[in-house]
């Protein structure tokens, strides 16, 4: 069997809700249906399903039983993929390779999460997740509830070492919000200025509420196939992929921003035959403003210590030289882990970005990170 080229031909989203409602499985099934409709496919035409779920310990996290819940059958590929926040990017690569080798022909990748409960907001859900064993048990017993304090430690260290100011973080939040204003799916679209950012409630110094992603109940799915539907949407090809799992250890004397992720970008660009300057949009994983700064430097889009000045220059924002997280990212768009950057890249490369469309966008970098920036997975996408 000859190697088969595939493309992303279907994209499906549920509404992104900041209120409780819908189990992860229900949301996943709806996104899957929407992606099949978008691709013009019947559910019986799907022969591969890859499922990603939130890594939090939640009773309703989706897994391979989603196939049954979503009315699918006779699949040739069915897997629950798990490398934390890097999962979505890994699923898309897995789907591409499965199609290339003939394991399956038409493969959907779906992610769903439902952290908002009637019993409390997403912050409470995260604060109550994690258990009381091992290192997490000790951290939780030390007041590290949810992930904000961990990233706050990273941000505090970063600002101390780079000589940066909280406005470096604020510039990232402002750029994300400016992009979100053009994205109807974004949950935070109110115009934001620096004074409003500075008045945002502190969560864990130096991170304010506006430095943190907005969790949603929602789901997203994509469909990959070698069979391109006639003129429905611009197909989006995966032309490069890279992974890096540096498996760092935290020891005295080591920095908090770990390193080891650049190989994921280098490998993806090398496979694509592109350089950084060829990329039209960057879609990075941005659960906190500090992570955008870390990744810009880690991935080689600026020199050491230059991420803060780059953000303050307006380069990341609409009209800037380095359009980044053009749907508002996880910060102002919606937090669906790795699906957030993937979805926005597809929208941009289809030319469906409406008010936030980057003119002439043909190539995109999609970055996924997992753990505490322990896992990196990158894709280079191109409009076919």
């Amino acid at each position: 069997m000859s190697a088969r080229q595939s493309a992303i031909i279907g994209l499906g989203l549920t509404p992104m809700s900041t209120k409780p409602g819908g189990s992860a499985a229900e949301l996943a099934a709806r996104a899957l249906r929407a992606a099949l409709d978008d691709a013009g496919l019947a559910h019986t035409e799907l022969d591969g399903l890859l499922v990603g779920s939130s890594q939090g310990v939640r009773p309703d996290r989706v897994g391979v039983t989603l196939a049954a819940q979503a009315g699918l059958g006779d699949l040739r590929l069915l897997e629950h993929v798990e490398i934390k926040g890097a999962t979505t990017v890994a699923m898309v690569r897995r789907a591409q390779l499965a199609i290339r080798t003939g394991e399956a022909r038409t493969v959907a990748c779906v992610f769903a999460d439902a952290p908002l409960r009637a019993a409390g907001g997403a912050g409470s859900t995260y604060a109550r997740s994690g258990g009381n064993s091992g290192v997490r048990g000790l951290e939780r017993a030390s007041g590290v509830l949810g992930s904000v304090p961990t990233y706050a430690l990273l941000a505090a260290r970063w600002l101390a070492v780079t000589g940066g100011s909280p406005d470096d973080l604020g510039s990232v939040a402002l750029a994300a919000r400016a992009w979100a204003q053009g994205n109807p799916d974004a949950v935070q679209r109110t115009p934001l200025d620096a004074d409003t950012y500075r008045a945002s409630p502190m969560v864990s110094t130096p991170l304010r509420r506006l430095d943190c992603a907005r969790p949603v109940n929602g789901a997203a799915a994509v469909v990959l196939s070698p069979d391109l539907p006639a003129a429905r949407h611009t197909p989006v090809r995966v032309i490069g992929s890279g992974r890096a799992h540096p498996v760092r250890r935290r020891r005295a004397g080591d920095e908090s921003w770990f390193g080891g992720g650049r190989a994921a970008v280098e490998d993806a660009l090398a496979e694509a035959g592109l350089s950084r300057g060829d990329l039209d949009v960057l879609e990075l994983y941005d659960p906190f403003t500090i992570v955008t700064l870390c990744l810009l430097e880690e991935y080689g889009f600026c020199g050491p210590g230059q991420a803060g000045p780059l953000a303050r220059s307006g380069a990341l924002a609409p009209g800037g030289a380095l359009p980044t997280n053009t749907g508002g990212g996880q910060l102002s768009g919606f937090y669906l882990q790795g699906m957030t950057p993937l979805v926005e890249a597809i929208v941009q490369l289809r030319g469906d970005g409406g008010d936030r469309q980057v003119t002439g966008a043909r190539t995109a970098l999609v970055g996924g990170i997992g753990g505490r920036i322990d896992h990196h997975a990158c894709l280079v996408l191109e409009a076919a």
């Binding site: 912050g123 590290v144 005295a252």
Partner: protein
């Protein structure tokens, strides 16, 4: 600010439901040492490299196993945050509390809160020492400012 209910002192920061699992936990030797007032941390039994708390094979020399032993309780602050989000039902404190990433003299890194309420956190690079809070039935390491016999803060 420690309150007492009956004879059991409650932790200044958290409710006892956040007490770590001890029996059979990967960190059991740490809690066992803490109960005796000692900071006990894992090292490679062959080359002596400081291991992460759940690490069981040395990344330096590939030796299996962890040798848990008491360490110098002195460290310096690598980073520190004041947590303003006081999760209702879990956090007893009514004011922001510190969490610090502490670099131990022996090479380990520990993310801990302070021994007592601390309205003004230490700065990055400050010298700290490790003591123990009591959360439920479990002694948990916590940092405290390191001072000289004259009451001045010691340099790291």
């Amino acid at each position: 600010m420690t309150e007492t209910v009956g004879v059991v002192a409650e932790d200044w920061l958290l409710g006892a439901e956040l007490a770590p699992a001890v029996d059979g936990d990967p960190l059991a030797p740490l809690y066992s040492g803490a109960a005796d007032g000692l900071l006990v941390l894992p090292f490679c039994p062959a080359c002596g490299l400081a291991l992460e708390l759940e690490q069981r094979v040395c990344d330096g020399c590939a030796t299996t196993g962890a040798d848990w032993r008491p360490v110098d309780p002195r460290g310096t602050v690598h980073s520190v945050t004041m947590v303003h989000r006081l999760e209702r039902g879990l956090v007893r404190a009514r004011a922001p509390y510190p969490v610090a990433d502490v670099e131990m003299a022996g090479g380990h890194r520990l993310v801990l809160t302070s021994l007592e309420p601390l309205p003004h956190p230490p700065a990055i690079g400050d010298a700290v020492s490790i003591g123990f809070r009591r959360l439920g039935d479990v002694a948990v390491p916590a940092f405290t400012a390191r001072t000289t016999p004259h009451g001045e803060r010691e340099d790291p």
